[in-house]
Symmetry: C2
Subunit: 151 residues, 2 copies
């Protein structure tokens, strides 16, 4: 059981923007800060933009920023966008050969309750919490050097 890479990449983009609140963030900078491929980060940009978590400013000096304050974006908001499927077990997917117990199987209600408990905890954490927990996040992400280069 694990989250998709999309989820962790989305969280990293949001944390970068939150740690860089006064400027637009550029995708090549974000990719470099995390040692990730820019192409991969771009893939996740569209769904998190459409979900109203980030907004893009086009043009030569364009970039992205959070579409609402970092303390108004919970981890549950992100996971809802980036996790494609919440059928937790293959039994409940249409491509399963067909377990004879699938209708009203108690396993489904157990997993649904467990998943809701998981979501409840995620809803208690915001992007702001993650960023605030790292006082030197701007140094770790190389934002201080970008600032100097522009000064």
């Amino acid at each position: 059981m694990r989250l998709t890479k999309q989820t962790s990449y989305a969280i990293r983009i949001l944390m970068y923007c939150a740690a860089n609140p006064t400027r637009l963030s550029r995708m090549p900078e974000i990719a470099e800060a995390y040692g990730l491929s820019e192409a991969f980060l771009f893939k996740i940009l569209r769904p998190i933009s459409e979900a109203g978590l980030v907004e893009s400013v086009r043009g030569r000096h364009g970039g992205i920023r959070l579409a609402r304050p970092a303390d108004k974006i919970t981890l549950l908001d992100v996971v809802r966008v980036t996790e494609e499927s919440f059928a937790m077990a293959d039994c409940f997917e249409s491509d399963d050969p067909g377990c004879p117990l699938v209708d009203s199987c108690e396993l489904n209600s157990a997993l649904t309750r467990a998943l809701n408990a998981f979501f409840t905890v995620l809803s208690e954490y915001t992007i702001e919490d993650l960023v605030r927990a790292r006082p030197n996040i701007d140094v770790l992400l190389g934002l201080d050097k970008l600032e100097l280069a522009r000064a």
Copy 2:
């Protein structure tokens, strides 16, 4: 986010044995009941045997049975055996290119707390609960026909 097929197959094997408490269950019967490949079910048999959830009786009239009562096997017991990794995000795996925030990242503690909440719910359900919720489980699994054939 989803459980591995191993988990759902393990749960199905355990439910079959629980629904068939007075006889040994044979793997070809279990595979047929669920429309699954026997080879795939065999793969999961070893870890759930080693974990003390089922026991095998060898020989021509051999088969498997629960190693302890169905109300003493929780869904958490199964998930602990069958889910290989509980690093919920790729950031915390050694093959990640290296997020600069990985040490003491608050995301890790958020996911750990969320996962614990998930596990707590799973620990409240036993294999017996799943079987008891389906009064006609023996018919659904074809156990009644096997009984007749032997009579």
